[in-house]
Amino acid sequence: MTESLHLNVDRRGELVVLYTEGYINNQGGEKIARQAYELIDQGHKTILLNLAGTKIVNSIGISILIEIIEKMIEIEGKLAFCSLTPTIEKTFHIMGLTQYAGIYPDEPTAVQALGT
């Protein structure tokens, strides 16, 4: 198939970085959400999604990410994003997502800003 999403998890204490590779569509979004809820259940409260490996998303996939943001607000955690393509970043702006999730140009900047 075209591109099914791959996910790599890097646990760094409280912070977890999730590296995506491929299309964040319905299935891709679900995969990220399953992983995020597992991490939240394990006590992690700060998740950084590094999207360097994702060149394409759709609104169904992003809607699922909004569910994670909602959960994070509930538990007073944080979901942040880094290394977005200009189009994905623009899309997040269009949706107003930038008000509820940190968007950083690259991983070092994100990690520093998240201060974990």
Partner: protein, 144 residues
């Protein structure tokens, strides 16, 4: 008038099937490249095409199981604008009744979906939607 003649047109008919929107983005990319659109703009076009296609795939219930696309290069002598039409012969809907989503509201809503049209409008220069009993046609364009 500038920018109104069709210099070139590619048509694509896709079956309603998983991931077929990717085929649409590739056709869009080819046509956009052929008119020397910048990579960033091409990428925005691709995202808008994805959204228009998945809407037709998901909502149209088109009996023929197809989505019809055209990619038209508009211009005078030089290519100026890429105009993309995404058409289905499905149930249609009333675009004026679609609520404009806001994240604030969506965060408390059970239904997080409903972003496609807003994204399309945000990424393309012009968007018009015609929809009725014989289906839906989204016409969207972007200047190079």
């Amino acid at each position: 008038m500038a920018g109104t003649a069709i210099l070139r047109e590619v048509s694509l008919i896709l079956p309603i099937a998983a991931d077929m929107e990717i085929t649409a983005t590739r056709a869009a990319t080819s046509v956009a490249e052929s008119m020397s659109m910048s990579p960033d703009k091409i990428d925005e076009v691709r995202m808008a095409v994805v959204e228009a296609c998945i809407n037709a795939f998901e909502h149209s219930k088109a009996a023929d199981g197809k989505v019809h696309l055209t990619f038209a290069v508009l211009g005078d002598e030089e290519p100026r604008t890429l105009q993309i039409t995404v058409r289905d012969s499905g149930l249609g809907f009333d675009p004026t009744k679609v609520e404009t989503p806001t994240l604030e509201r969506k965060l408390h809503d059970r239904r997080k979906r409903g972003w496609g049209l807003k994204i399309i409008e945000g990424l393309m220069d012009e968007v018009t939607i015609r929809s009725g009993g014989d289906g839906t046609t989204v016409v969207m364009s972007k200047a190079i």
